[in-house]
Chain length 156, copies 2
């Protein structure tokens, strides 16, 4: 169990480093990585503001990047690590991409769809279901988002 | 009422032309347009296979394109027309993009999230809700998809 938890933390740290890039660029600090066979094949951080794109969430960018790496849109046997519970768009993207497991940091009671408001990843009416694990490195993943909004409020 | 219905059909025809482009490129034929103040500001058709990208649904491409056109990720006062009921990913994207209304052709009982399996666009726990109208040009939007799968089965 310890080694599984350590592995989760290892990859969540990589996702967290992506969130830090978002923070530095004045974007809501959420980061994600896609892992296959112990290798990161896709990374992403939230870039909605800089790209003027409401779909530019960390997960979407990491999934697109991973699929491009392996030249296949089906991300079989891949895990996605993300610092915040995915929204409906991103939870749907995980299902569409055939991701094997999603591991997230902070729970999101406002729009989380991997357990909080909905559990879109486990609905067997969809073509694909995946394993869901929340709360890994929850404190730092939550803190960086709180810090971001504190900084934004000071600016206003 | 007649003029509203005519307008819906006018824009759905534009979405349908996008679906035809997908058909010609051996992609599941689904098309979408984003309309603002009576002008198309974004178009898209399903390109999952050609782009190797599970997020390359018609709606996501049309939304990204529209947001790029107006240089703002908030697509206020915009309508999205799409030939098939959006999946969870795309329904979530409509909410994230603050789209004002979604109009779709074919209902999708397998993964539709604008009424069939879920109604993600009307959940007032999310930051934004939008008007949903289904069944516009339902027959041609359904037929083109059936034709596509018939063609694919012949290939196999």
């Amino acid at each position: 169990m310890t080694s599984i938890k350590n592995n989760h933390e290892k990859w969540m740290k990589a996702a967290f480093r992506e969130a830090e890039k978002a923070f530095e660029q004045d974007e809501v600090p959420i980061g994600a990585v896609v892992v296959k066979n112990g290798i990161i094949i896709g990374r992403g951080y939230n870039q909605c503001e800089s790209l003027n794109d409401p779909t530019a969430h960390a997960e979407i960018i990491a999934i697109t990047s991973a699929a491009n790496t392996i030249k296949n849109w089906r991300l079989k046997d891949c895990q996605l690590y993300v610092t915040k519970e995915p929204c409906p768009m991103c939870a749907g993207a995980l299902v569409n991409a055939r991701i094997n497991m999603v591991v997230f940091g902070m729970y999101d009671e406002k729009e989380g769809c991997c357990g909080s408001l909905y559990q879109l990843c486990r609905d067997n009416r969809f073509k694909h279901q995946l394993t869901v694990k929340g709360g890994i490195m929850e404190d730092p993943c939550t803190l960086i988002i709180h810090e971001f909004f504190k900084k934004q409020r000071k600016k206003d």
